[in-house]
C-alpha cells in the first residue's frame, strides 16, 4: 500500500518489482489530491499493473476493516517544513507541505499505519533531516517497532533518510542484529531483475 501516491511512480515501481512473486499480491494507493489519484491510475495502466486507488485523507475509511492486513506500506509524505496553513492548501501544495518541522502530516500517518500493518508488516518512509528521523524512530520504538535507517542520501537541497519499521517481536532471534544488518534484505532484493529501480546501497 502506498499512502500519498502522487504521480503513481512508487506504487507502480513496487508492483512491477513484485510482479514476479505471482498473482497473490494486491495493491492499494491513496492520495488526498484528486489529480494525483487520476495520474496514479494512468501510471499504473501504462505499466500494465493494477492497484485500487482511493481518494482519501491518509487512509480515512479503511482503518477499521483493513486493520492489521497490510504487509508493506510505502510513504513519501509531504515532509517539507512549511507554515501550518500551507497544509490546508488544496492542490499541489499537499504533495510537500508538512507544517512545523515538516512533521504534521507524518505524525498523522504513523498512527494510521500502525492500525493497518500486519504482524509481519513493514513500513518504509522517506524523511528529511529536518523531520528529526531519530525522533520518529524513537516514537515508533515506543509503539513496539524496530527501526533502521536504510539509506541516507544528500542532494543540494535535501538530506533524505529512508526509514524502515517492523514489529519488534518479528525481528528475529537477535533483534539488535536484525536492526543493524541489511544483509538478508539486500540478498532478497538482488534476486529481483529490476535493480535499476533501486540504489545500490539498498
Amino acid at each position: 500500500m502506498e499512502i500519498g501516491c502522487g504521480s503513481g511512480y512508487v506504487i507502480t515501481s513496487l508492483a512491477i518489482m513484485l510482479r514476479q512473486l505471482g498473482s497473490g499480491t494486491q495493491y492499494l494507493a491513496t492520495d488526498i489530491n484528486q489529480h494525483a489519484v487520476e495520474t496514479t491510475q494512468g501510471t499504473l495502466e501504462a505499466h500494465g499493473v493494477h492497484a485500487d486507488v482511493i481518494a482519501t485523507d491518509i487512509v480515512s475509511g479503511l482503518e477499521k476493516h483493513l486493520h492489521g492486513l497490510v504487509d508493506v506500506v510505502v510513504v513519501n509524505p509531504p515532509y517539507v517544513p512549511t507554515p501550518e496553513e500551507e497544509i490546508e492548501c488544496k492542490g499541489i501544495a499537499s504533495s510537500w507541505a508538512g507544517g512545523l518541522n515538516g512533521r504534521q502530516v507524518i505524525d498523522r500517518i504513523l498512527p494510521a499505519v500502525h492500525e493497518l500493518l500486519s504482524e509481519r508488516g513493514w513500513l518504509y518512509m522517506i524523511t528529511l533531516e529536518d523531520n528529526d528521523p531519530l525522533d520518529i524512530c524513537h516514537l515508533m520504538n515506543e509503539k513496539g517497532y524496530a527501526s533502521r535507517v536504510l539509506l541516507k542520501r544528500c542532494t543540494e537541497e535535501e538530506s533524505l533518510y529512508v526509514l524502515k519499521f517492523w514489529h519488534e517481536a518479528t525481528a528475529g532471534t537477535n533483534s539488535s542484529h536484525a536492526a543493524k544488518s541489511p544483509r538478508s534484505e539486500s540478498s532478497w532484493l538482488s534476486q529481483l531483475p529490476f535493480r535499476s529501480l533501486w540504489h545500490k546501497n539498498a
Binding site: G24, L28, Q34, L62
Partner: protein, 133 residues
Amino acid sequence: MRLLTHNMLASNARGAVTGYPLKLQVVKWSTKEVEPNADFLRGILPKLDWPALVAATHALGLPELLPETPPTDAELSAEGAAEEEGGPLRRLHRALLEIHIEEGTLVCPDTERCFPISRGVPNMLLHEDEVRN
C-alpha cells in the same frame, strides 16, 4: 475499484455509526481476468465480510455469482480448485478481484451520504464539517 476494496471501505463522516457496508450503486463496470491465487484467497477469506460481498454482487446484478454462505477453506484448497470453472474458488476470485466498478456511488448506510466512484476511483474525501473530531 474492486470488490475486495469495497469490502474494506467505510464512511468516516460525522454521523456515521459504522458507515459500513457502503451500499453500491453501479453505473458502469467491467471485468478483467487475472490469474487466481489460492493462497491469497484462502488468506483473505476469513477477513471478508461475506454478507457485504454478496450484497455488492447483487447490486451488480449478479445474484448467482456467490452463495449465501462463504466457501470453506477445504473447498478453496482442494485439488484443482483453481482450474474448476464455476467452482467456489473461481467464483470468489471473480467477485473479489476481476470485477472493476468504473462509475457509480457508494452510499453510507447510516446517513445516506454519497461517495462518488469515478474512473474506477472512489472519492472518500470529506468536507470540513464532516470530519470527526
